[in-house]
Amino acid sequence: MSSSLSHLSRREFMHRGSLGFGSLALAGLLDQEADAAIKPHFAPKAKHVIFLYMDGGVSHVDSFDPKPLLKKENGQKPKFEVEATVFNNNGNILASPWEFKNYGQSGIPISDLFPHIGSCADDLCVMRSMTAFSPSHPNANYSLHSGLILSGRPSMGAWASYGLGSSNADLPSYVVIHGGQVPSGGMQMTGEGFLPAAHGPSVLHPKGVVLQNINPLEKKEGLQQDKLALLRQIDGQLQERRPDSALIASAVKNYEMAYRMQMAVPEVTDVSKEPESIKKLYGLDSKFNNTRTYGAQCLMARRLVEQGVRFVELTITTGNGDRWDQHGGLKNGHTKNALAVDQPIAALIKDLKSRGLLDSTLLVFAGEFGRTPFAQGRDGRDHNPQGFSIWMAGGGIKGGTIYGATDEYGYHAVENKMTVHDMHANMLHLMGVDHEKLTYRYGGRDVRLTDVHGEIIPEILA
């Protein structure tokens, strides 16, 4: 943290910052688009959500949805009708290069890709009948985030912020911790779309500058404070001249919040002071750089959730392997991607649990689609939107369960088929929000995250 903050305590600042401001109550949102600022529709199970976005599409038949038939028919021409794929380079049935084990009391089968997550099996609800609206990355990514295959729509995190607001005045309500891999379709898929900018994500980085514009650039100690003090003085003159303007009052007030964020954000995201045991748990000592990065992201997520941040999304790391999108080299690529996230995610579950936070924190692990049971080329898999697996854990989720099923090849969801709308509906439901009532007037419609769809699934709820 910048040393320039040292000679003015936060309390002092707030006190001085409030002087002469007239009625801050006026600083409401008179001239602005008012927030929905609603209370939950009913008591929430989950106060926070951590969305573990598995960019590129994890192969479900190699992770959470074992298909013995693939081994049997390995190398054979698919006996089913093949849907249009993005690359149209469809090969023969490809057996999974990984073995599956049954984990925990629930005995949920999970492949050797995820031994750490396997150790948390009894906390997971694996949904094997998820489907996506498109076989192309950006479309599927947009809809995974916003329910529609279009760009420029509000993401689930922005909806959560819009619907529930923030519970910590010093921190944003919706945070994306960016691992470095920009998803196909751009970072704007995590954006607020047409919702007010206040509900957009604060994009935090686990390395370097943690948040855009969060660090003062003044080199001289105390200079920023001096500037702020002078600014308050002169803005105070304006406020005296124009006590009528709520806009001005709230703009002035924003500087207090900004200043507090300058301190709070670096502090809450600083994982260096965590005990060694915790760092080790999350894999911060790993030999693999991406595990260290993702471990830091998961640890930051826990710290943010502890401080009341409403919605945290993690994008994956970059630099060693190209997301989960293994059109070729499945074994190598998926191994590296899993190595990066497996230990940190398991650590997050365990850490939250030991702090009693897992019950109030919903974890969602999902990619934009799964991968085909047949090969692309020799050793890859193409996109499979017709059926794949996601899982949820924590806040209100029935652990140790499996919901839905794909066919014997893992190609199509055949039992309890679900869509992103269902996923969103249940996430909101757990946060105490009725997805049919959370609306925003746009383009002549009362728009919902779940469009006109979405079903609550009693089987997955604790």
């Binding site: 602005q32 794929t85 900004a258 383009g443």
Partner: protein, 1047 residues
């Protein structure tokens, strides 16, 4: 459209059976069955229960109802959950009473009034167009009288619009706010008009003007400033969802898009009447008399439709029809929003839920856009008169004739060389060595050539090379049999069948009788020839054109076409897919053409069987293609040309009838008889076998005239526009599903709720649509436009939801005023400037932003306009004002976009070239609008995401904005520049502070501000380092609220 409700009511009255159905059966079905068995929702098991024809047809397991026999009806067995049949509904069971009612109904013979056929849309929403048409915004614009106001307030009124406003206030008993002081007013007007603060010079000039009407003169000056157009263009860019790239995975850049921005800037500066603007927006490519830029002679109008195809572009699409539906939806949305103020795109899946818009309306527009094609138009072409065209073509013809004639004497001199070639051809070893030559091995080629020359003569060597070298001239190969009987004349080319072609631009001409490519600067003169199909670039690479086939339906087999040329592209465009060639599956559908030899292009269509497609051949295609983020625009090539044919010339025929080469060449030199002859003659010249005699006086003269005319041709200047394609009606997609088109024809016509008038012309209907928009009876067009203007001037629309005049929008606060303005707008010939000027000169605009006590309490949203609002500047104005204050602002207009500063954004494969922090001092409107990498500073202050039309931006007030002004490197950089400039001014600190305030706030500093400034400088350490202190002070000034707020 038949309303089932109406029909049901009619028959029920005469039939107990129908009454029973309506009272008992319909409710049961709606509650328990239709969710899974209706056209509107799902059709499980192939069974429809939403109409009589549905259950008559039955489902996958056959008929489910046997009228009169409930026990035999599968439906009854299923709802009873009997063994061996599937239980329905699957997760619940009907009550015994309900089951009994259904059984009784079947016993009665299953009387069912629902007469819709399979595939026919059911009007389940009870949509009643006549009722919907009663909505206020669809009523004719009323001729309203200006309200009479009391004499004591009459003198407050400067314009008629003030009388409407004051009448509203009088009704409340509120007095209007006092007049704002003149400097506040000047600053307000300046930001509204130009988006910039008045410069200190402008401020001084204004303050020095003590004559009556100083404000009016200032307004007129600002309205004639070129920055006016920039500011108002930006407003329209929001509405047009202007962006320069395709977002999605690779964020491809659309070339030449920025010229649409420049088109808007000019249009607003020149006050193009709005009716003309609308015509250009929808049909600028179709106007008989396009608007010509007096300065450049370029066609302005054709750029008008440039915004329509600005939707995102998805690559790797597996269903191109679905993608077309997405792109056209974006066009319908932008047209509906921008011009109608209606949410027409809400009628994509069903009739509009609230407004007078049917889904036939939606698919009528769909058909209109579907019948139009994206086109890169050359606006410089308007400088190219028919007369000059004739002149050029005739000069070109003269050069060809003179060149050929000058070579005539050579025919008789061929004998010796040809005899030598015959001899060489017998040398199998030599022939083999040449055949095996690697065409890229220049060294080996040179060696062989030298050997040849030594063996024979240079002429003979040239002939031999033309015939035996790899990549030898295809036109000449036919003469090989005259040397060597082992080489029979080549077979005639395969004919690819008939197609109808549509050519746009002046470039393309028929080449059936042969066209010669001439370069007057090259000693060969004739470079090559085309003798079939169509050709462009032969007279000059700068004469642009595109040729497209009519639409056809693919059959799954390859689509073939012959092409040759340079810097051209040929593609198979399926469902108007703009990204053809990008992404794995469509990559083979787009080819660059870079060969002098005819090539047979084959486009595979097995993945897109039964789709509508057309073939597109673009001259200069390389500079018209989407490019990767960060790649520069591809320059226009002076070597570009292209020929396209469904059948190529039969050169063999030219040679096969000849007794000797000498005889044949002599005959060709007298004039080729057909396209094939022309190609052979062209090849003889290009291989150097025949040479022009540059000393020939006739040729010299002809070359002189050709060069003179040629140099008058301007390089093409491209804009994105449209052209007419094949006219198609689009069926209604049931539930918006493109895979479920309605059976009925859906002819293109105007909105049913407005006139419903059919399009009778031959084109797509875009011209008709524009004319319907502008018809005097159209209640929306003028209202929507003046309301947009009002909202920009007064901060809020009379209809606050400027993009939505429908039921989900807001109602007008001053309906009479809106109509008054709409009438006035049309009366003033749709002049936007005249309308803005009226508003700016009104007493209403001149009010202070300090509210009266009662109005502040009772009307916090200022609906009644008791005062002017305090407003935060737009994102662009904030950035521009910072640059202007520091002195870094460049006031140049137009040009390619400056790459934005994106260092603060994550890396990805779509990340474009990094731009300079200060954007080269250019106004924000000129920063690259790369959708995946929009400038974060502007986005923080609510610049739109450039994907959806936005007539009214969010104006948020969030800490991220404070952080940006405190810590963004741009702000620090500009504070530094500003401070350094200030400190160099040779004046006292007081004077410097006065200057600072004039620049930042367009007013004199108060005494308190000077005191504050001096003490601040002291605190910031002037004595030790005056420059640093001033830089810090400038940073504080930028952070003062007054810097970014307008009062």
């Amino acid at each position: 459209m038949v309303s089932s409700l109406v029909l049901a009511a009619q028959v029920a009255s005469g039939s107990d059976g129908f009454t029973f159905f309506e009272n008992k059966v319909r409710p049961i079905m709606e509650e328990h069955c239709l969710k899974c068995h209706s056209e509107a929702k799902k059709v499980k098991g192939g069974l429809l229960l939403d109409r009589k024809a549905g259950w008559e047809d039955g489902g996958d397991s056959g008929p489910v109802i046997v009228p009169g026999k409930p026990e035999e009806s599968l439906l009854i067995q299923m709802i009873r959950h009997e063994a061996d049949v599937e239980a329905m509904p699957p997760k619940s069971k009907l009550s015994d009473g309900e089951i009994a009612d259904l059984a009784r109904w079947i016993k009665m013979g299953a009387p069912d009034p629902r007469g819709e056929a399979i595939g026919q849309k059911i009007n389940e929403s009870g949509f009643d167009l006549e009722e919907r048409k009663q909505w206020w915004s669809l009523q004719p614009v009323a001729r309203v009288a200006v309200p009479k106001v009391a004499p004591e307030v009459e003198e407050w009124c400067r314009t008629d619009l003030d009388r409407f406003v004051i009448a509203g206030l009088e009704a409340k008993g509120w007095a209007p706010a006092a007049e704002a002081d003149e400097v506040t007013l000047l600053r307000r007007a300046s930001f509204v008009l130009t988006g910039l603060a008045p410069t200190p010079g402008e401020l001084d000039e204004f303050l020095a003007d003590s004559r009556e009407g100083a404000y009016q003169r200032a307004v007129d000056r600002m309205m004639s400033s070129p920055h006016f157009g920039e500011n108002w263009a930006r407003h329209w860019m929001d509405v047009a969802r202007y962006g320069e790239s395709k977002a999605f995975e690779n964020d491809y850049v659309m070339p030449h898009t920025w010229r649409y921005r420049d088109y808007l800037v000019r249009a607003f500066n020149e006050d193009v009447p709005y009716d003309q603007f609308v015509r250009e927006a929808l049909a600028g490519d179709l106007l008989e008399h396009p608007r010509i830029n007096p300065g450049t002679g370029c066609n302005e109008s054709v750029a008008g439709p440039g915004f329509l195809h600005l939707a995102d572009g998805h690559h790797g699409v597996t269903d191109l029809h679905e993608d077309e539906a997405r792109v056209i939806d974006s066009m319908i949305n932008v047209v509906g929003t921008a011009f109608h103020g209606l949410t027409i795109s809400c009628a994509r899946c069903h009739d509009h839920k609230f407004d007078a818009i049917t889904d036939e309306d939606y698919y009528s527009l769909y058909g209109m856009f579907r019948s139009s094609r994206l086109h890169y138009a050359n606006v410089a072409e308007s400088n190219w008169s028919a007369e000059r065209s004739r002149e050029l073509r005739s000069a070109h013809g003269d050069v060809v004739k003179a060149t050929v004639k000058s070579a005539a004497a050579q025919a008789g001199k061929l004998e010796e060389a040809i005899a030598k070639v015959r001899k060489l051809a017998e040398n199998k070893e030599l022939v083999e060595a040449w055949r095996k030559l690697n065409p890229k091995d220049a060294e080996a080629r040179k060696k062989l050539r030298t050997e040849l020359g030594e063996m024979t003569s240079p002429e003979a060597a040239r002939w031999f090379v033309a015939l035996y070298a790899p990549g030898g001239k295809q036109e000449l190969l036919g003469m090989k049999h005259l040397f060597d009987s082992a080489n029979p004349p080549p077979r005639k080319s395969e004919s690819l069948g008939e197609r109808t072609w549509l050519a746009d631009g002046v470039g393309f001409e028929s080449a059936e009788s042969g066209r010669f490519f001439v370069n007057p600067d090259d000693p060969k003169i004739i470079q090559r020839a085309a003798g079939g199909g169509m050709v462009a670039g032969h007279v000059s690479a700068r004469l642009d054109g595109t040729v497209r086939s009519e639409d056809f339906v693919t059959d799954g087999g390859p689509i073939k076409i012959w092409v040759k040329g340079r810097s051209a592209t040929v593609s198979l465009v399926i469902r108007n897919y703009e990204l053809v060639g990008h992404g794995p599956t469509t990559a083979p559908l787009r080819k660059r053409v870079n060969s002098d030899q005819w090539q047979l292009i084959q486009f595979p269509t097995s993945l897109w069987k039964d789709e509508v497609a057309f073939i597109q051949i673009q001259h200069q295609g390389e500079s018209k293609r989407l490019r990767g983020a960060g790649a520069g625009e591809v320059a226009i090539s002076d070597e570009a040309w292209v020929a396209v044919a469904t059948e190529i010339p039969d050169w063999g025929k030219v040679w096969s009838g000849a007794n000797s080469i000498e005889e044949m060449v002599a005959s060709l030199l007298e004039g080729p008889k057909d396209g094939a002859g022309a190609e052979v003659l062209g090849a003889l010249f290009s291989s150097g076998l025949l040479a022009a005699d540059l000393a020939d006086p006739q040729l010299k003269k002809a070359l002189g005239s050709l060069k003179k005319v040629r140099d008058l041709i301007e390089k093409p200047v491209y804009v994105r526009s449209l052209v007419e394609g094949t006219n198609m009606n689009e069926p209604v997609y049931i539930r918006g599903n493109h895979k479920r088109p309605s059976d009925e024809e859906n002819p293109r016509r105007f909105l049913a709720g407005l006139s419903g008038e059919a399009f009778t012309g031959r084109g797509s209907g875009r011209r008709e649509w524009a004319e319907q928009l502008l018809k005097p009876g159209n209640p929306l067009t003028a209202r929507v436009r003046v309301n947009r203007i009002w909202s920009r001037v007064f901060g809020k629309g009379i209809v606050a939801s400027v993009d939505d005049f429908g039921k989900m929008g807001e109602k007008p606060s001053h309906p009479e005023l809106l109509d008054f303005l709409a009438n006035d707008f049309v009366k003033e010939k749709w002049s936007i400037k005249a309308m803005i000027r009226k508003m700016l000169l009104s007493s209403t605009f001149r009010m202070s932003s300090i509210p009266g006590a009662e109005a502040a309490e009772l009307d916090p949203g200022n609906v009644f306009l008791q005062r002017m609002p305090v407003r935060r500047m737009s994102a662009e104005s904030i950035r521009d004002h910072i640059l202007a204050a520091s002195g870094d602002l460049k006031r140049d207009l137009f040009g390619p976009s400056v790459p934005a500063y994106i260092k603060d954004q994550p890396n990805s494969r779509a990340k474009p070239r990094e731009g300079p922090l200060g954007g080269n001092g250019r106004r924000s409107i000129y920063l690259a609008s790369q959708r995946n990498y929009l400038p974060s500073f502007l986005r923080t202050f609510d610049a739109p995401n450039s994907t959806e039309p936005v007539g009214r931006r969010n104006v948020t007030n969030v800490p991220a904005q404070s952080l940006a002004l405190l810590n963004h490197p741009l702000v620090h950089q500009q504070a530094k520049v500003w401070g350094e400039r200030i400190v160099k001014r040779e004046e006292s600190d007081q004077e410097k502070l006065r200057h600072l305030h004039r620049v930042a706030f367009s007013r004199e500093a108060t005494k308190e501000e000077i005191e504050w400034g001096l003490s601040a400088l002291g605190k910031l350490g002037t004595a030790a380092n005056p420059q640093e202190a001033w830089i810090s002070l400038c940073h504080i000034i930028i952070n003062r609220k007054e810097f970014i707020y307008v009062f």
